[in-house]
Symmetry: C2
Subunit: 441 residues, 2 copies
């Protein structure tokens, strides 16, 4: 009989962990690892995550030493302090990362969920079964915690992952990969389930983006430039996200009761100030002209927290009359994601005008503050964004806050996943058909 | 107060239907139409489809005249008769297309389905709502029925669609678009809900592929070259499909009872012969060496139907001994989609060898014929293809056969949709959050 054709490189739980010579080879190894991972029972995935968490704690000094080298090199290269801060780990942060891995291990495993079979007229029984995506490519910037978070989410959802972190975290990520590989080997699992591209050259990232015969999805985590680069260069499907303009529409019905004005001010303050660098932070306040009288109350708190308001003429006039500094808005201040303590204010004459504005500029998170249920229903129906929120802060558009437990990224595209992506969004389904000799007529 | 910024071009139900000057303008118009469609109640979508079906019947002579011109031009240009046949419409075919539109109107509308709200620790109530994708771009080859089928599926799922058919069907598609537009206007709906790119230049298709700020998904329907072109050039997310190698593994347990051998022969014959040009037709038979004795019985029927078998040495020897002609297989005959009356045969020593082979070459539809339940379970678990089938023909991997009612395409990628895509696969979800003044702590 014919010799078996070599199907793919076998996974090798005892491999040395030496860096493969090419990203394509990493892809082949990831595919082989994914075949093992996709059939793992939940308890083995949980055990792998526990081993990783234990490894992080046991190897803290080696990881922190590697991280200190990254920090030193980043400082020497003149990287801005804000960037260096994102890169820096300490014992407490590392313990938090290990605890996050343990938290992922407690999430429900979506793999294997099966729909009830339906019998078709032909006699076949049809169901779908939830299965891992296969091999993920995740590209991110300088936070080393992402390396571990994403590896944990990938393994728990039965996927292999190829990680490409920032140039500034190469040593930290290498140390973290060593710990992950040792933990996987200890559990007799393929170390290639989570691989880090250690060569920071952009060409390696480009190879990953074009590996469509081996990688099932690319998930970029970073700024608009990174997402754009992936969309324009990848042949692997990309899940874009994280970028988008956040609006709050304030309806007059939410300003009749002084307690509501206080609530509105608190929501708008929380939306802008709690974490201005987040993608779900407020960018543009759309205020009904009949609610303009409350704008000074809202603006005072923002102003006190250092927020710069860029207001259209009616809003600017109201703020000036109340003695609150604001800049005049230009066209560029609308449809812009600020990622800073800046927000624009635009006056609208109606809910319709607000909806038209959001139809043009929104896609991420949009909020209505209203006491009119019919208006709330119209807003929720008409606004076509990843998250539509009534009477609460846009900052709730977050995997943890929406009940996913953890998130790998926030998608703003519509295919596959929209909004925060948890374990379930790292899976797909396959059709399962059972018959008894049926043929198609 | 400030003047409202023009949010987007308004849809104009009374527009003349003149061809827009650019694909980008079509995209802007499609987006505006999509905003109307996404909130339509089911009955208005049903009425639109009925109006389209009625329009097709009422305008049959104009459509068939345009189609006759396309056919004449195709014949004059020397297009192969098989291609001309795919292009040709007659009164009966057109009536069938209208009936298909009516069938789509009877499918359940997935839009608006909402998950039960969950209250989170913060107090917010969270649910997801099923909504249309928005604007679809569908690129296909010469069958004019696709123009109507896809428009009907798009409208029924609340999406706008931009259609780009083959160069050979320009006149047919223009006539069909005229009918669809008239029907939509009659229903006071935006005609731009379904637009045909009438200019067959490849540059227009390329514009569509790069319209990622306006188009939510590209769905190619055609050969491998078209899919590859889309993947390599699109910045809009692409759902690839239709391409893939189909395997049937025949286990000895399915050959002990002569009735099973008859069933196996019937399934394999159906898989290869019923529609050899289909993507779910058999490519490679993997036969266990202990089942080789039944290969002549299986091959005789195939042979009688004009199938060429390309067999590996053990299979070839068995066929030769039985006096059945077969060609020797080369490496290129495995992992190859034939789309013709050709199939390859490979002998394997075990289920494991079959699984390894499928792990390398499969991703579309794979079948096991077995009487051993444990083997069936292993096959279903390990094979990572869009459809995994036990003891039935691979030809069942089809939207109609699996119970979707209709399909817009068959996806072989893993993101978003896998296997046949019906109305539900043309939708996405959005997060809906209701609060009472909650802010994030």
């Amino acid at each position: 009989m014919s010799a078996a054709q070599p199907s793919s490189l076998p996974h090798d739980p005892q491999s040395t962990g030496a860096q493969p010579t090419s990203v394509r080879l990493m892809g082949v190894q990831a595919r082989a690892a994914a075949r093992v991972l996709r059939s793992l029972p939940t308890d083995r995935k949980v055990a792998a995550l526990h081993a990783i968490a234990a490894g992080l704690r046991a190897n803290a000094s080696a990881i922190l030493a590697a991280n200190a080298q990254d920090v030193q090199a980043a400082e020497a290269s003149g990287l801005p302090e804000a960037m260096v801060a994102r890169l820096r780990l300490d014992a407490r942060a590392l313990d938090g990362i290990a605890a996050d891995v343990e938290a992922v291990s407690r999430l429900p495993d979506p793999v294997g969920e099966t729909t009830p079979p339906s019998t078709q007229p032909s006699g076949i029984r049809v169901s779908t079964r939830r299965v891992p995506l296969g091999v993920l490519g995740v590209i991110y910037e300088s936070r080393p915690n992402v390396t571990v978070d994403v590896a944990a989410l990938a393994i728990m959802s039965g996927n292999a992952v190829i990680l490409r972190g920032g140039r500034e975290t190469v040593r930290s990520n290498a140390a973290l990969e060593d710990v992950i590989h040792a933990a996987l080997r200890e559990q007799n699992l393929p170390a290639h389930a989570a691989q880090v591209i250690r060569d920071p050259a952009r060409e390696r990232m480009l190879e990953l983006l074009k590996l469509d015969d081996l990688v099932d999805a690319i998930i970029p985590r970073g700024g608009a430039g990174l997402h754009r680069y992936c969309v324009e260069n990848a042949t692997v499907p990309v899940i874009v996200g994280g970028i988008g303009v956040v609006h709050i529409y304030l309806d007059p019905s939410f300003t009749h009761d002084p307690a509501d004005v206080t609530r509105a001010a608190a929501i708008i303050h929380n939306a802008k100030v709690q974490k201005p660098s987040a993608c779900n932070a407020l960018d543009t306040l759309l205020i009904h002209e009949q609610a303009l009288g409350t704008l000074p109350d809202i603006a005072r708190d923002l102003h006190a927290s250092g927020v710069t308001l860029r207001a259209d003429p009616p809003a600017h006039a109201v703020l000036s009359a109340a003695g609150i500094a604001a800049e005049p808005a230009t066209a560029a201040d609308f449809g812009t994601e600020f990622l800073a303590l800046t927000a624009s204010v635009r006056t609208v004459a109606s809910l319709d005008e607000a909806l038209d504005f959001i139809a043009t500029h929104g896609n991420h998170t949009d909020v209505i503050l209203t006491r009119d249920d019919a208006q709330a229903r119209r807003f929720v129906q008409d606004v076509d964004s990843a998250a539509v929120i009534v009477n609460a802060s846009p900052r709730f558009n977050d995997g943890g806050q929406l009940g996913l437990g953890a998130e790998v990224a926030i998608s703003t595209q519509k295919l596959h996943a929209r909004g925060p992506m948890g374990l379930r969004e790292l899976t797909t389904t396959k059709w399962v058909v059972e018959g008894n000799g049926e043929v198609r007529g």
